[in-house]
Symmetry: C2
Subunit: 325 residues, 2 copies
């Protein structure tokens, strides 16, 4: 039997798993990321756990390799982080080299959203297809494109940023420099901003109450929407419409069989999916010709909620060495 | 030596070429499409020319095969046209079967915009890369995505419709059912509509004069823009901005090394490219990190005018049998 180690290196939590080649999760460790001793401290912590976990299976199984999902843009050639808002101070630090020196073995780095897409492709909502795209709705909107079973990196490893597809030409300014990116309408931060805008309009008393209580979050807005609060429902309807506009363009361009929506905000699926699924067929001729309910023969277009939850990145990271070996 | 036959079957012109494996154009025939005798008449005409042309090289060279670019959506499995506005009455007609019976050999059908993309990838503006996207600005806006040197068809052969990416959320209604598609701002029809809107605004006397003379076309608006007419320049500036919004999203998603803009409207490159190239870096973080003028190492992002003109589809069609053999 062969197994691999997958790592999800987050700014808050460090998660490490052993997964066998059939996709069985053998073990999962989750600890707070020890950022107090700098980058070296985090790598020491991570490598110690990797060695403990892999040591427990090395006697009976062959280690296929180690895959590590990292937040930020990775230079695939040098193994350095180029941009990493959630790991401040790690930019232009030779992460891969530091890990490989500690473990005396090769490791594969991957952007965390790409790893999550690969996880959903391997064992989750897209496990029956080779080509898929995942949107990850978190603090921002990330994503990953998987073609032929592998992450599509593009010419410089910077592909897979569907969060910066435009959905509102002169919309809200985005940290990327543009205006009206998907991220400004369908991320957790966007949900909070849209709620604040509703409060400022003076007709959202329940949302205002949440804000006064210091509990205005994507989660609390969703809870309110589920309780029937119209302004909270409208916030998620706007998010769903924005997702629909972006997905329609992606479907027209790529005609993939499966699009997966995951990340923390996807927990609010019931609140945004109806508006999203209303928008997509109106805006995509390719979707209408291939919708699950269409009668034409051949592969359909499926838009699905992610299935692996927060394990997607971990599982996708473990998949990386299996693909490259 | 090996050669292939490429065909560009248009509603107006039928063009057939012999191209050798090195990309040398051996011969090109262009005749008006004889639509007077129906679909059978067109196929008879096309197959007669294919046999004449290929006969001239068959004694000294080996025929690799025959590729045919067709306007419309092709069902790649059955070889039938699904939608074909420029060949009315051809829907659900077994085109490939009709050609193969006449020629007693296998042929490869491809959407004409995909064939053009493949042509530009083989011998044109993207000849040095394996991955590229082409936007074809014609009556509508079509396109083709080439990954790993081959056309990306998607799950049902319907990929490559970047003309229906949204660039203006609640913009002009599109024939596809959506609003604000790229096609509504950057096609020849869109240029004429934008010019009409300027005329209706009452501040575009030169454009109004063109309209009265019955000569309001994408070409005549471009000529006027080149002569310094501000309203005509503004029409192409709007087209350029729309192209920039769409390209920025494509670059963020795919990180390809080359994006090619072709088709008849691309002849107005000088009129729309400045606005397009102003918009892209503002809206794409991936472009800024990979722009030709950026100092970072690694592959750049190039946005280029097409180089093969109206031969792109013909050359790409001839390439098809070389890739599949």
């Amino acid at each position: 039997m062969t197994f691999a180690i997958g790592v999800d290196l987050g700014g808050t939590n460090l998660r490490i798993a052993a997964v066998d080649e059939a996709g069985k999760l053998l073990e999962k460790v989750s600890v707070p990321t020890e950022t107090g001793h700098g980058r070296h401290g985090v790598l020491d912590q991570m490598c110690a756990i990797i060695q403990q976990v892999s040591g427990r299976y090395a006697a009976t199984s062959k280690l296929a390799g180690i895959g590590i999902g990292v937040p930020g843009i990775i230079d695939m050639e040098t193994g350095m982080l180029r941009q990493s808002p959630n790991l401040p101070g790690w930019e232009d630090y030779p992460v891969r080299q530091g890990i490989e020196r500690r473990l005396a073995t090769r490791v594969i780095l991957e952007n965390d959203a790409n790893a999550a897409a690969l996880g959903e492709k391997w064992l989750g909502a897209a496990k029956d297809v080779d080509d898929m795209l995942m949107l990850t709705l978190g603090t921002g909107v990330g994503g990953g494109l998987v073609l032929g079973g592998r992450v599509w990196h593009g010419a410089r490893g910077m592909a897979g940023e569907p969060g910066h597809i435009n959905v509102q030409r002169d919309g809200h300014p985005c940290g990327c420099g543009s205006h009206g990116c998907l991220e400004q309408y369908a991320s957790a931060s966007a949900v909070v901003r849209l709620a604040r805008e509703a409060i400022a309009g003076g007709k959202a008393p329940e949302l205002a109450w949440l804000q006064e209580a210091g509990d205005l979050t994507a989660r609390s807005v969703f809870d309110l929407a589920q309780q029937g609060d119209r302004p909270a429902q409208e916030v998620y309807r706007l998010a769903g419409r924005a997702l629909g506009v972006a997905l329609a363009g992606l479907i027209n361009l790529l005609n993939l069989p499966v699009y997966v929506v995951g990340g923390g905000v996807a927990d609010a699926w019931e609140a945004f999916a109806p508006a999203m699924m209303d928008e997509v067929p109106k805006r995509s001729l390719v979707y209408r010709a291939t919708a699950p309910e269409s009668k034409a023969p051949g592969p359909k277009t499926v838009i699905s909620r992610a299935r692996l939850g927060s394990d997607a990145g971990l599982i996708g990271a473990a998949r990386l060495p299996m693909l490259s070996s």
